[in-house]
Symmetry: C2
């Protein structure tokens, strides 16, 4: 059997360590040159495959590829293009196969979250339905930590670490000045559907009274009165109050708090901005001086303080994906399995992709305290191992050394163009 090339693409929101998975895929494929040809990466994700814009990773030096370990974001570009179902848009799938065939691609490594797992599953099924031999392996990645069958998702641990540290640091700032200045500080973090990231801020607290004093989860319906009462009692008890709010915080009817009515001078609804909205609520009702921060992309790009555990796991799923491909697997995902011992351990296992796609893992209610405002010991036990170790990048002239790849495209072999 002549050796086939591999296709690798990054999908959806990028993370501090998704490039470590790319590194795992490429370095492992290079170890098996007898079986795998080139690794061709989609320029801007799956769009690159559809447009036949394939990056030739063989043009990159070993050093550059290894530099991916310390470089955040998506080195080949990512995208938010969701492939529809085979029935709805068969043309897109046929185009994929056309491009893959033109470039001798036999392996499909798709590095993403829930939507990508679904796409990967569909692509894996093409092998049969369209008579084209292709092994599709999903490489898990999502800061949302919501993939099933894996203990956690690469990318999440580093956001968790960043948010926990930032919460502890900002809380020290507020605590030291609350006597005469800011009394309430609000940090808005990501998490549209699940409160995993907000929950991680709970690791900032070591003892009773430590920040964060209030965490707002999407899982717990927001109750304005209860919230304000808790802010007030916290300020009275500790002198200040730190709130960490998930961007997905919502009312009982499912309306996001961030959609609740800020308008600019022209009457346009203001998009986003949960933190300033909560701050205004507190100012209006309780009169406290406040400050707020919105971490936004800073949190998921913060490679400078990535979790070593997260980095190791991100590399391992990339490596395992190639090993699974070499073992003849199709339609699987390397998953992280936590050991059962008291001391944290993990290994990579194989998860069937049809059990991963379209299943969202929610945060267990047992991870949220009874009053809905904090995390439990169970959550702490789950979260803490994921932020262990500081995977510092190298620095040059005071700044982290992040690599930029050449990203040279292979010549097109098709005359056809595809309109997205």
């Amino acid at each position: 059997m002549p050796k086939k090339n591999a296709f690798y693409a990054q999908s959806g929101g990028v993370t501090a360590v998704i490039n470590a998975s790319a590194c795992g895929v490429i370095e492992t494929a290079r170890k098996h040159r007898g079986k795998i040809g080139k690794v061709l990466a989609g320029r801007n994700g799956i769009i690159g495959a559809l447009r036949e814009e394939l990056i030739d990773t063989s043009k990159e030096s070993s050093k550059a590829i290894h530099g991916l370990m310390t470089t955040p974001s998506g080195a080949f570009g990512s995208c938010r293009h969701k492939m529809k179902s085979l029935e709805e848009n068969r043309a897109e799938y046929e185009r994929l196969i056309e491009v893959f065939a033109a470039h001798d691609i036999g392996y499909f490594f798709y590095n993403g979250g829930g939507d990508s797992a679904d796409t990967c599953l569909k692509v894996s099924q093409l092998s049969e339905s369209m008579g084209y031999p292709l092994q599709a392996i999903h490489v898990p990645k999502t800061i949302d930590n919501d993939l099933p069958l894996t203990d956690n998702c690469p990318g999440f641990g580093s956001v968790a670490k960043y948010v926990a540290i930032s919460t502890r640091e900002a809380a020290l700032d507020v605590a030291s000045m609350c006597e005469s200045s800011t009394k309430v500080f609000i940090l808005e973090v990501m998490g549209r559907h699940a409160g995993w990231i907000a929950a991680a801020s709970g690791l900032a607290a070591e003892k009773e009274g430590d920040a964060p004093h209030i965490i707002l989860f999407p899982e717990i319906a927001f109750n304005r009165e209860k919230f304000l009462k808790r802010v007030q009692s916290t300020v009275k008890k500790y002198g200040y109050c730190v709130v960490v709010a998930s961007e997905g915080a919502q009312y009982k009817d499912g309306t996001f708090l961030s959609e609740s009515g800020l308008r600019d001078a022209f009457g346009h609804a203001q998009l986003g901005g949960l933190a300033p909205m909560l701050a205004q609520m507190i100012k209006d009702e309780l009169g406290y001086k406040y400050h707020w921060a919105v971490a936004d992309y800073l949190q998921r790009a913060a490679r400078h303080i990535a979790s070593q555990t997260d980095l190791d796991q991100a590399y391992a799923v990339g490596e395992a994906a190639v090993e699974m491909a070499l073992a003849g697997k199709n339609s699987v995902m390397p998953a992280i399995q936590r050991g059962t011992g008291k001391r944290y351990s993990w290994k990579i296992v194989e998860a069937p992709l049809d059990k991963v796609a379209n299943v969202e893992k929610m945060m267990p209610r047992s991870y949220i305290s009874r009053d809905g405002f904090n995390i439990t010991d169970a959550a702490r036990d789950y979260l803490e191992p994921l932020i262990q170790g500081e995977a510092y990048p190298g620095y040059r002239r005071g700044m982290p050394e992040y690599v930029t790849l050449k990203n040279q495209l292979v010549p097109k072999r098709l005359k056809t163009r595809f309109k997205l």
Copy 2:
């Protein structure tokens, strides 16, 4: 001459390294036990002196004091209490002297920015006008970097490093997804009066086209049309645009952009939020998908990625303050002097306090590019040395180990209470 105690207080907004100055003061004083008695720290800054709430730092172990080197924020508490002039509020100054006399305090170390330098100067003059022997030394600290007679201010270098790194990281994120997602990213940073912090973001760029593409300085009047035009041309040229906006960005008439008209559902003016305001402007006029972040306290508390140069200098000014006191000085400030060689060097020199107080050092116009949207090479040459070195704290269980002091108060000796 019987040995006198020393008073130390932290004033104004705290920083990632102000505690390193405290450490410099206390460790140096401990080396001279024959000449300086206890270092008593004001609980919550100067308020602690007025209330006779004096923290006995001799109760802290050497290890705890050295832990201040790696702990952000103000370990003894800080405050925003500005002392009025001697004429306006003589009672406050008399109270200070009353407390100092009751606790044998002969040295006054005041760790703060411009306002504090002014207070420190006034206190230094008490020695003569009230016949109480007191040596007052100002220990410089401000993220605003606006004190005169010193090349830079401790606290600034670490914010600069954090902002430069965060800009580079977030920019990589945006760049990797701009093809199908966010095209404009806005990071709002501190700097009400001067653009030093915003300028530091310019260090994120290494070559033409690198982010930040637009920096908004308080020094340059905001021109809506010119700004939008630049955003558009940047997106057209590079596919995305990263804007770093100083919170002090303002119109020609001095109105802050952040005050320009956002209202909530009840018609209340919304406070703060320059970044969301700019985002909305871009969305309305250009239609680009955007994201924005507001770093707020995260930037000045980010001890996890403090600049080693900044940390060294923060310690050095604390150390030098005590040495100056021992040399009999009064009404001075240890200042940082940059060497003239090609390779960056610095040493501590003595600055007269009456030349420091009430003088604000502005950013030179030559540090801002002609078009007003970026920094020049001169700015880069000035800023780059200040962010050199990564002064990492220790970690335990994945989180930075920040010390908490006992902060035990000395028994009060006065019957009188002072009403602030």
